[in-house]
Symmetry: C2
Subunit: 353 residues, 2 copies
DNA sequence: CTGAAAGCGCTTACAG
DNA sequence: CTGAAAGCGCTTACAG
């Protein structure tokens, strides 16, 4: 008769029904607001629920309903850290997560998060997918073929990446942002040579930004400098490495260096500073993203702000619509960006375009 | 015979079994590595799984296994934003989440996150709890009674908060950190008056820090200044408000102002700067946490670093042990902190103790 | 308005 | 080693 162990098996709807002197169907109806239970029934149930601290099992509900009320959010794991000021994945940090989460709050959905390295992606993704009703994926996590297979099983939204026919997508207007930036550097400051330090070589975002830069520079009669020596990886360390290489080979630096993202710019400014090269006096430097530290750097960083939080909100809303079968007006949403002018371009103070 | 709609009902284990010419039991065994299926059986199953892109339903697995392989992480929603540099919940931002997530990676668990305001907490928490095997809660989300009821239903770890008998907890050694900080201000700098701007009035963390400050100051013969006028709320805006109030009432500021967290210190330094009061020349200011921007402020911020990421790792490990029934050596883990000396205390450069 | 019963998609003793 | 069947805890037609 030693019954010290607490009942590790949680309470079920049967316990509540027994306690309330009703059937499990009635308990379920009260809890879900379906049918029209008598107020006496309702009260009996609520009392029993409260007295027992009953918590309905989500797995059983999901199995019965065909709806888990969970969306998965998957980021790429930042694999190349190094600098102390470097957040793991600045673009996709809490802002996106919270944009998504804030939107999910308005429904009864919750958000399952996962960071995945490029290696084990497919396997882990499938485990995650089984626990959710739909997925929001950071671009470049898996191959196009794997993505198509996944999207055949459940709705998928690609965040900041190349749209694909099988999925929905939310991204920022890289091209407009980059063109505005280059226009500022060339037309307003008169810089004639612009270097572009890329992100990962195969990143669609980086490629789009590079293309826009080259077009705009050409149109304005400035020289765009790119190439294998100018390949970064979205990290501060990567940006610093590019500068070290260029200087090591005694290349003359262009008048302005446009970086694929803010992290890269942080590394570049750091490396230039160490070489005694003045920013923006000798070389102007710009970023992309507008991370939180951008306004605290020396000089403060001129960059292009993406509406990160809003992208998260829209990604969730798209996914939710697809899950619940609501109509989706637009499967590929492109949001406007904003040029944020601070000091690293050569301007005096903060200004916005 | 119009069959255009894609089969919105996902594939089940029965489809795989039929495709492979086996029973669902065999499919399940292969997928879970249980039993000892013949390699021919194994291959048939794997082939079918691949050809169909089958993803096992997590809800059904959970219901059958009694294990969802999901832990919930709940933060308090930052309700009092305002300053542009203010992250929503700097202490619990991606670092904790990623500490937890990184640890979860080593198992097959995933992490469900939720931000909750203080209002609707209990209801939302119960919905969340039903979807998980255990919860990691930020302190002060719900009342002690509600917490006890919740903890009776599933394992709970309290992060950065008062340990309670029903739950496990992980926190930093506030007292040691604060005492080391005060010792530096009084013994090394010779400051004789130290003001303390608190966090939320009822925050156990803030109360613990205040108590440690008072004890240490008294022991060293300095004057500690606290009280209702010195009540902040962990936000930059709150810190700025305290300064505005004090100056508005023509109080003489103490030589050093110790803030309950970094966000508060950011607001304080901002407010002092606007009044033309030099930091640290006229008033030294310190924080607590060591958020990412701390090293970018002017002056750079002297503060106490909490091992945030490690706290996340340990919180998950404790919870995982409780869920799987593994022995837990210590139900209340207190981690050491580190005094990070920068410029805002009056020192010249970065140094660590 | 309420209850008995089927069914959601898995896992796992239990036979064979 | 493999398959038939029970059972996990809910929801929801279906009767009454």
């Amino acid at each position: 008769m030693v019954e010290t162990r607490k009942p590790r098996t949680a309470l079920t709807i049967y316990d509540v029904a027994r306690h309330a002197g009703l059937s499990i169907a009635s308990v379920s109806r009260v809890l879900n607001g379906s049918g029209n239970p008598r107020s006496e029934t309702r009260e009996k149930v609520m009392l029993a629920v409260r007295e027992l601290s009953y918590i309905p099992d989500g797995a059983a509900r999901a199995l019965s309903n065909g709806l888990k009320e969970v969306v998965g959010v998957v980021f790429r794991r930042g694999d190349d850290l190094g600098f102390e000021d470097e957040a793991e994945s600045p673009l996709f940090d809490e802002v996106v997560t919270r944009g998504i989460e804030a939107s999910a709050q308005r429904t009864s959905f919750d958000v399952l998060i996962s960071m995945i390295g490029t290696g084990d992606a497919t396997a882990r993704l499938s485990g995650l997918a089984g626990k959710t009703d739909g997925l929001i994926l950071h671009d470049r996590l898996i191959s196009g073929a794997a993505l198509a297979r996944l999207a055949a099983q459940l709705p998928v939204v690609i965040l900041v990446g190349k749209p694909s026919p099988e999925t929905m997508s939310v991204r920022a207007d890289n091209q407009a942002g980059m063109r505005a930036l280059v226009r500022h550097l060339v037309a307003d400051h008169g810089y004639r040579s612009i270097g572009y330090i890329s992100g990962h070589a195969d990143s669609p975002d980086s490629l789009a930004r590079a293309a826009a830069l080259e077009i705009e520079a050409r149109d304005l009669g400035a020289r765009a400098i790119t190439g294998p020596r100018w390949t970064g990886d979205y990290s501060a360390r990567g940006g610093a490495r590019v500068i070290a290489t260029l200087l090591g080979e005694h290349h003359k630096l262009p008048r302005a260096i446009v970086c694929a993202n803010d992290q890269t710019a942080i590394g570049v400014m750091h490396a230039l500073d160490q070489q005694g090269i003045r920013v923006p006096g000798q070389v102007a430097v710009t970023g992309f993203d507008d991370v939180a530290v951008a306004r605290h750097l020396h000089p403060t960083l001129t960059t292009v702000r993406q509406p990160i939080r809003e992208m998260g909100v829209i990604a969730f809303d798209l996914l939710h619509a697809a899950i619940t079968g609501a109509p989706v007006a637009q499967r590929d949403v492109v949001l406007p960006v904003e040029l944020v002018i601070r000091e690293s371009c050569g301007c005096r103070g903060p200004r916005r375009r």
